[in-house]
């Protein structure tokens, strides 16, 4: 069956179940309720003064009823410094556990060592917002029989509370925890900031293990994860490679191309009609995205504009803007560098939020719904403004859905920033390889060669033209770029589906086909 973006979606996939085709960003939500029931969280019982401390991760896992076919979940706040995911799966593999469903909020390069477990039947299914590096390559080539499911950060919460992902065991890394399992990422030698993605796992997993390298006296404050959901606590020497978890401060790019794109994007925001007192703002941490914040910061100071809140993945640059008094509040679901943790811990206007509050579409309103302006990146964008942030130009899975579709659907102004081509590969396509965010959520594309406004928003185009910005038709820009780079030969794929891309409401926006290896 075709979804509303013209992508062929199978009705059923063995191992995943019935699929519902995407019908529009807000179509399913506009009913006002969801048909899927919320499943009950597990009931547990602990005796007064019962000891939760375990001597090792292995012992804790042994006590957690490991079994074939289990679902194991993780959070990715330690980013490329995480070591617990690989350790946990290695322990399960060595116990002979097979047919595991891996449900991590995302997967990074540091998880490459689990590739052999995907080949030998230890891991047979994956739910994740992102897959990269060797794992992404292997997935694209069809290492798993059952397609991986790519979800957004908000969509993951929905999948858990509706029972699509039923977690048997979650392993939560904490940079500080007490003997009862109250835990946080906001202090300690391995501090990583917000632990927002893990909150839903703690609530719903049948077994919850908190792992820390910093056992503190009871109680561990703040209670980012609270003891009433935690079964066991393990103290280890290290929860990860501190140099890769969070270091120093994020620097603004000095690439001339990124700075030019960022400056144009800031101009777009300034003249869009949404740059006004009390506006809410989100930017990514990537090159051009974060650089937009630099130019917006200057414009806010010049014009005397004060914003309401910043949201999302938080960098030290956002913290600086909070401390400058340019924004009232930061809502933080994931922190990108070390200085953010201090702010999260000490500034009461810097608030740690769970993924459900950040972006889950099926509740009484997530904070992404309140965004005025969001700046996002893209691996590819097409003439219908559909965005791909999951598959690369060489056909591998190499990105993450993350909060892309969540924030794009909520914002009044969604700005996509990207170069018009990268290393001879045009970024503006007639048709993106994989759709993650539908074009209807994207208002404007900013490249170094011009600005393209989605024709669905004529008023915005009027505003920008009046300001004298260089507005181009996206079809013209696509042709212009093809003339510079030449037209790339298409990649070849088989009929086998290796990935399913869920939209945030659980409908299927696209599928990923197996790459033919050359």
């Amino acid at each position: 069956m075709l979804n509303s973006l013209g992508r062929e979606i199978p009705e059923y996939i063995e191992g995943i179940g019935k699929l519902e085709p995407f019908q529009g960003a807000l179509t399913k939500l506009s009913k006002g309720w969801m048909d899927e029931p919320t499943i009950p969280a597990p009931n547990k019982a602990y005796l007064p003064h019962q000891n939760k401390l375990c001597n090792s991760l292995e012992e804790a896992i042994l006590r957690s009823n490991p079994h074939n076919g289990m679902t194991v979940s993780f959070h990715h706040h330690l980013r490329n410094g995480d070591i617990l995911l690989v350790q946990t799966l290695t322990i399960l593999h060595n116990m002979g556990i097979r047919d595991i469903t891996l449900a991590s909020s995302s997967l990074n390069e540091c998880h490459d060592p689990i590739l052999p477990y995907m080949k030998d039947g230890t891991i047979t299914r994956i739910y994740s917002s992102g897959i990269r590096s060797q794992l992404g390559h292997a997935v694209a080539l069809g290492v798993l029989d059952i397609p991986v499911v790519i979800h957004s950060h908000g969509g993951r919460v929905r999948s858990i509370h509706t029972g699509k992902i039923q977690i048997d065991l979650t392993v939560i890394a904490a940079s500080a925890a007490d003997c009862e399992g109250n835990a946080t990422g906001s202090h300690g030698k391995s501090a990583f900031g917000s632990i927002g993605y893990a909150v839903i796992d703690a609530r719903y997993a049948k077994q919850v293990i908190v792992v820390t390298d910093n056992l503190v006296d009871f109680p561990c404050i703040p209670l980012s994860i609270s003891q009433n959901f935690v079964d066991q606590v393990v103290v280890v020497d290290s929860i990860g490679d501190a140099s890769k978890i969070a270091t120093g401060t994020t620097r603004i790019t000095n690439s001339p191309m990124d700075l030019r794109i960022a400056k144009l994007a800031a101009d777009v925001i300034e003249y869009s009609g949404f740059f006004e007192q009390g506006f809410a703002f989100q930017v990514g941490a990537g090159g051009a995205s974060l650089a937009v914040a630099k130019f917006i910061r200057e414009k806010m100071k010049t014009k005397g504009i004060k914003g309401s809140f910043m949201l999302g993945g938080i960098t030290s640059y956002c913290v600086d803007m909070l401390n400058d008094g340019l924004f009232e509040t930061i809502f933080d679901v994931q922190s990108f560098d070390a200085t953010v943790s201090n702010s999260l811990l000490n500034n009461r206007r810097h608030i740690e939020i769970p993924a459900a509050l950040y972006a889950n579409p099926f509740n009484c309103g997530c904070i992404t719904n309140k965004i005025d302006v969001v700046v996002l990146g893209a691996l590819e964008i097409d003439v219908d403004f559909n965005v791909n942030v999951i598959t690369g130009s060489e056909g591998k899975v190499r990105g993450a859905s993350g909060g892309h579709s969540d924030t794009a659907s909520g914002a009044k102004l969604t700005v996509v920033v990207c170069p018009s081509f990268r290393g001879r590969i045009p970024i503006i396509k007639k048709r993106v390889h994989t759709i993650v965010t539908p074009g209807e959520s994207i208002h404007v594309l900013v490249t170094e060669r011009g600005i393209c406004v989605n024709p669905a928003f004529p008023e915005l185009e009027e505003n920008l033209k009046r300001a004298g910005l260089n507005i181009k038709d996206i079809h013209d820009l696509e042709i212009e770029v093809d003339k510079i780079t030449g037209i790339p030969a298409p990649l070849e794929y088989t009929d086998k589906i290796v990935g399913v891309v869920e939209y945030r409401d659980g409908t299927i926006i696209d599928v990923i086909h197996q790459l033919k290896e050359k």
Binding site: G423, G486, K518
Partner: protein, 96 residues
């Protein structure tokens, strides 16, 4: 013509290409080693550009190594022309 000396041009940066040329003994023909980050999408185009330019300069008894990181067509041509002229000792900047 055959290269007189070993020569190189370009860099190993993104959107650039590096060419290395060495002379081979007489009657060796051409030995080409081309690699590119965009081989799948632009490999045929890259090979064609290289062969056309080698034909244009009637190059033979040449060992040519190309490592491309997504250079545009004018960049590829300019880098290769430079490498050829350097190897013929017609232009400065050789490895000697």
């Amino acid at each position: 013509m055959k290269p007189k000396i070993a020569a190189q041009s370009g860099t190993f940066e993104s959107s650039d290409v590096i060419f290395l040329i060495e002379p081979l003994p007489d009657n060796s023909g051409r030995k080409l080693e081309i690699s590119s980050t965009v081989m799948q999408q632009f490999g045929a185009n890259f090979n064609r550009i290289v062969l056309e330019m080698l034909d244009q300069y009637e190059m033979t008894d040449i060992h040519l190594i190309a490592k491309d990181k997504g250079a545009l067509e004018p960049t590829i041509k300019a880098r290769l022309e430079t490498a050829i002229k350097r190897s013929l000792d017609e232009q400065e900047g050789t490895l000697k």
